[in-house]
């Protein structure tokens, strides 16, 4: 990990002055909008047995990298919605890849065999890759699952965040942040909402 990446993750208990009060904060800081796609050429093991890179998954219109988990309830809530979005937007030129950065040594159900089972049982038709050492998660500043990083074809980040505003109930969705960002990316218009917050499971770093 580079010094900058280390700073980004704020691995130490850092202090910042906010409105005259001392706030001791330790939070992950994801890539800023406009940042370059990290580790574009790093080879990662795909659950289907092949190997791939982010660069290879990049589509004609962009790339969606989504940090994922075999066990996280929020991932389970979004599983069908992400599969539907992938089917729809891969056809429109956006490549999809889901990334498991969790340490299976500490959390056995995050292992490769279970990833393969998920691909089979859930019908993922996009790569589900292992992030050995959580290197991609660290480089992206990812901290939770699911967490989306959407890049344009120049490898610049255009959106980071969540799928929509209603994880527990698809019928309660009022804002489809991810879909809107992809539509705007494809249309070549401004991404109106570039970052969103959402609850998720912590990535269990190696």
């Amino acid at each position: 990990m580079t010094f900058q990446q280390t700073l980004r993750r704020v691995a130490i208990f850092a202090f910042a002055i906010v409105l005259g009060q001392t706030v001791a904060a330790q939070t992950a800081q994801p890539l800023d909008v406009g940042a370059a796609l990290p580790l574009a050429d790093r080879s990662m093991q795909n659950a289907n047995g092949s190997a791939t890179t982010f660069g290879q998954v990049m589509g004609d219109q962009g790339l969606a990298v989504i940090f994922w988990s075999n066990t996280c309830p929020w991932v389970a809530k979004y599983d069908e919605r992400v599969r539907d979005l992938a089917e729809e937007y891969e056809a429109a030129g956006i490549g999809f890849v889901i990334v498991n950065a969790n340490d299976p040594g500490a959390y056995p159900e995050e292992n490769f065999a279970t990833m393969q089972q998920r691909v089979s049982s859930n019908g993922y038709d996009f790569p589900y890759v292992v992030d050995e050492g959580s290197e991609a998660a660290k480089a992206f500043g990812a901290s939770r699952t699911p967490q989306i990083f959407l890049f344009d074809t120049s490898n610049a980040l255009v959106y980071e965040g969540t799928v929509d505003d209603s994880p527990s109930d698809p019928s309660g969705v009022e804002e489809e942040f991810f879909r809107d960002a992809m539509n705007q990316l494809i249309a070549g218009t401004e991404i109106t909402v570039q970052k969103t917050n959402a609850f998720g499971c912590t990535i269990k770093f190696y």
């Binding site: 208990f13 906010v18 409105l19 005259g20 009060q21 001392t22 706030v23 001791a24 904060a25 330790q26 939070t27 992950a28 800081q29 994801p30 309830p73 809530k77 959390y107 901290s143 939770r144 967490q147 969540t162 505003d165 209603s166 994880p167 527990s168 969103t196 917050n197 959402a198 609850f199 998720g200 499971c201 912590t202 990535i203 269990k204």
Partner: protein, 180 residues
């Protein structure tokens, strides 16, 4: 008021019934009260303590479950005038019975909280730099101002040290402000 408004009562009844069936004694009344970020801050400001520790957790979150006893130990050992702990569950509505069971197993009674409303606005209202990952913990001073925040698991010793450090710094700020 909110979509979980009837859940606490049902939850309490269900827990008492469970205790009766298993021969266990109920551990007092337990109510899981839905709170918005604004309502949570009202609760925090009403607490008479130098530092209020708010831990955001969920019943299925393994790191949250792992650190939970550390917070209980801290709560039991801290001087209530110096630090108090509150828990806010992020469980989905269907998981609240699991949350209640976990709380009961750890001897929690009385009122505890579950997040209410949309995630994004709640997260931003608590702390704009919070990614949304849990477990997460916020520290508030006596005025309800946020003075500490972190994502991830902590031990008792780490928690005690962070509270001590922040408490000292807020005392310093208070002293400096008084002298100006």
């Amino acid at each position: 008021m909110n979509r979980f408004s009837t859940s606490p009562r049902l939850l309490l009844i269900g827990m008492l019934a469970l205790a009766a069936c298993t021969g266990q004694e109920p551990v007092g009344d337990l109510v899981i009260e839905p709170v918005s970020a604004e309502e949570l801050m009202d609760e925090v400001r009403a607490i008479d303590s130098d530092i209020v520790v708010v831990n955001f957790w969920a019943s299925w979150c393994l790191p949250c479950r792992a650190e939970f006893p550390e917070f209980i130990r801290f709560s039991e050992e801290a001087d209530p005038g110096e630090a108090q702990v509150r828990f806010v569950s992020i469980d989905f509505e269907e998981d609240l019975p699991h949350a209640a069971e976990f709380l009961r197993e750890h001897g929690i009674s009385g009122t505890t909280f579950v997040k209410d409303g949309k995630d994004g606005p709640f997260i931003s209202a608590i702390y704009s730099e919070w990614s949304g990952a849990i477990p997460a913990t916020a520290l508030y001073d006596r005025d309800g101002d946020l003075v500490g925040f972190w994502e991830g698991i902590v031990t008792y010793d780490q928690l005690a040290e962070r509270v001590r450090t922040v408490r000292q710094s807020t005392e310093s700020v208070s002293t400096n402000s008084t002298s100006l």
